[in-house]
């Protein structure tokens, strides 16, 4: 696969250095891989040193038994997508702020929308939810339903039907 030399190299490196699972070159400029949460900060620091210095965003997800996140790191030419999973019973992920200070709002979003505790996140106001939104409800989890939330709050009357 000489066509995707750069992609194959980063995939092989991720497998060798960080024991990445399910690594694949999806197409030109897209590499996907899954790593252990404990290796995440180290892997991010390594990627940054390799020139992948732009953390485009972090996508949190709910897969049922596991919660987790995709870290989309890029050098603007090639996007490396790193997946980390954490058990739903006790969801914890390490922070990558040491390497990417710009990730602050993305990590807060993980805490707020999916209830994944991010270790190493400085204290601060919540984002993006409202201050009076219940602290133990996480809207992006699949078992959270808008209808139930509206039904529970008698004050909340949507104008349009």
């Amino acid at each position: 696969m000489s066509e995707f030399e750069k992609e194959e190299k980063i995939k092989a490196d991720l497998e060798k250095k960080f024991q990445a699972a399910n690594a694949q070159v999806q197409r030109k400029a897209r590499v996907w891989a899954e790593i252990e949460p404990a290796k995440l900060p180290e892997a991010m620091a390594w990627l940054k040193a390799e020139g992948y210095n732009h953390l485009a965003t972090v996508t949190g997800f709910d897969e049922g038994e596991n919660l987790g996140a995709w870290y989309h790191v890029t050098d603007t030419h090639l996007i490396v997508n790193l997946k980390v999973k954490t058990p739903r019973a006790n969801p914890v992920l390490p922070s990558v702020l040491k390497t990417f200070p710009g990730a602050l709002s993305y990590e807060r979003e993980l805490e707020d929308m999916l209830g994944i505790k991010v270790e190493g996140l400085p204290p601060g106001r919540r984002y993006p939810l409202d201050e009076d939104f219940p602290k133990d409800e996480y809207p992006l989890r699949k078992d959270w339903k808008v209808e139930e939330y509206i039904a529970k709050n008698p004050l909340f009357k949507p104008e349009a039907k």
Binding site: Q26, A29, R30, W32, N53, H54, L55, A56, T57, T59, F61, W70, H72, T74, T76, H77, L78, I79, N81, F100, P101, G102, A103, L104, S105, Y106, M113, G124, R125, R126, Y127, P128, L129, D130, P139, L140, W144, V146, E159
Partner: protein
């Protein structure tokens, strides 16, 4: 001197959108800036999971009032990649055309806002008058000024005729002339330079460190442009330059945007003159096989990135949207710290945070429980009557 914390926003005349900055001041100088967001959170990612791919198109269009085409194009690129659909070349060219018209519209709007924030209101009046020309182009092509709704699954919804092409080129020729004047003004007018030079400094290393995108990054000498780095649509066939500037300040951001306008005009003409023949849309299956993909796009404000996961049904499993302003706000914090209170509106405006505008209104009357839609003429008539009652007669103005 003792420190004072001043809240700036969420409602503030200098901010066009709700966001809050906690500024710690020592005299007039800012020593610390904290940014609080979320006042505009509408839960669109959750909402997208409950709608079909085609319904989502209209939802995603409303993520932003100005980058409406940027968001739908990123979204639709993802959907089409997952559906393995071969989008016709002509559709891609029309999408690119809209993308560039949108950039012109957004940059002209920004020039006006920047002019307003630096106390140069004539510039604001000029650029917003000229912006009407590009809005007319968009209305001519799509029927709408702001939410063009041109994208659909597998292509675009409207074709471009020869008359429309002539109409757009005529208006672009006028804009080229006007923009040359703005560039001259930005580069030569001493008051502009005096107000913007060395304001809101963002050195190259910090821009990289804080993941800055778009014109904000390019004004710090960071040649980061998705159109060149990973060409999408038909950008690999177009001839254009990535504009960078190395002054790292608001002045640089002004110059970058003004020069980018010229590149966009060049591209619009290239696209219109070489529009590929063929169909404008193909049929796409409503159910999309499981898969995931991620695509980015150079919106007027910078990189816009979407992640999409499908699960075999006609609704997405997960959609993630990251708009460029969120990526740039970490840089704003840096730009504000060490600066002066009077520069705050200018610095914030310089990353071009989003706002929206439209000239049609729907009024909901809760007493009658009825909806009334007002068009431009009716709104105009109403305002003339309103002023007449107050003793001012505008009816003679045409």
């Amino acid at each position: 001197m003792s420190k004072i914390t001043v809240p700036f926003g969420p409602q503030h005349p200098a901010l066009k959108e709700p966001e809050n900055f906690m500024l710690v001041l020592e005299g007039e100088q800012i020593t610390e800036a904290g940014i609080n967001l979320g006042y505009n959170h509408r839960g669109m990612e959750k909402a997208a999971e409950n709608r079909t791919y085609i319904q989502n198109l209209y939802l995603i269009e409303r993520v932003c009032g100005i980058c409406s085409h940027s968001h739908t194009t990123t979204y639709i690129t993802n959907v089409e990649e997952l559906a393995k659909c071969e989008t016709p070349k002509r559709a891609l060219a029309i999408r690119t055309l809209f993308a560039e018209l949108e950039r012109v519209h957004s940059h002209l709007l920004w020039l006006g806002v920047a002019g307003y924030e630096m106390g140069f209101e004539t510039l604001f009046m000029y650029t917003w008058r000229d912006r009407e020309q590009v809005l007319d182009c968009l209305e001519l092509l799509s029927g709408n000024r702001v939410h063009y709704s041109i994208n659909t699954l597998g292509g675009v919804r409207r074709d471009i005729s020869a008359e429309q092409k002539a109409g757009v080129i005529k208006r672009i020729d006028y804009l080229v002339e006007r923009t040359n004047y703005y560039i001259k003004l930005a580069l030569e007018e001493p008051t502009v330079a005096a107000r913007t030079a060395n304001v809101g400094k963002l050195p190259l290393e910090v821009a990289i460190e804080r993941n800055a995108v778009g014109p904000t990054a390019r004004a710090s000498g960071l040649a980061r442009d998705v159109r060149k780095d990973e060409p999408y649509l038909i950008y690999n066939e177009l001839d254009f330059k990535v504009i960078t500037h190395n002054t790292n300040d608001v002045f640089g951001r002004l110059v970058v945007r003004a020069l980018e306008l010229v590149e966009s005009y060049k591209m619009i003409k290239q696209i219109l003159n070489n529009l590929p023949e063929g169909p404008i849309a193909v049929k796409v299956n409503m159910r999309i096989a499981p898969g995931e993909c991620v695509n980015h796009y150079e919106a007027p404000r910078g990189e816009d990135i979407h992640y999409l996961k499908s699960n075999g049904t006609d609704k997405p499993e997960r959609l993630k949207v990251r708009a460029p302003t969120l990526a740039n706000l970490q840089s704003v914090q840096y730009m504000l710290e060490g600066g002066w209170l009077a520069d705050v509106p200018l610095v914030i405006a310089a990353i071009d945070p989003c706002m929206s505008c439209t000239d049609r209104a729907v009024v909901w009357d809760p007493k009658k429980g009825k909806k009334q839609v007002y068009g431009w003429e009716e709104l105009r008539k109403m305002s003339i009557e309103q002023y007449k009652r107050r003793g001012v007669d505008f009816s003679k103005l045409s």
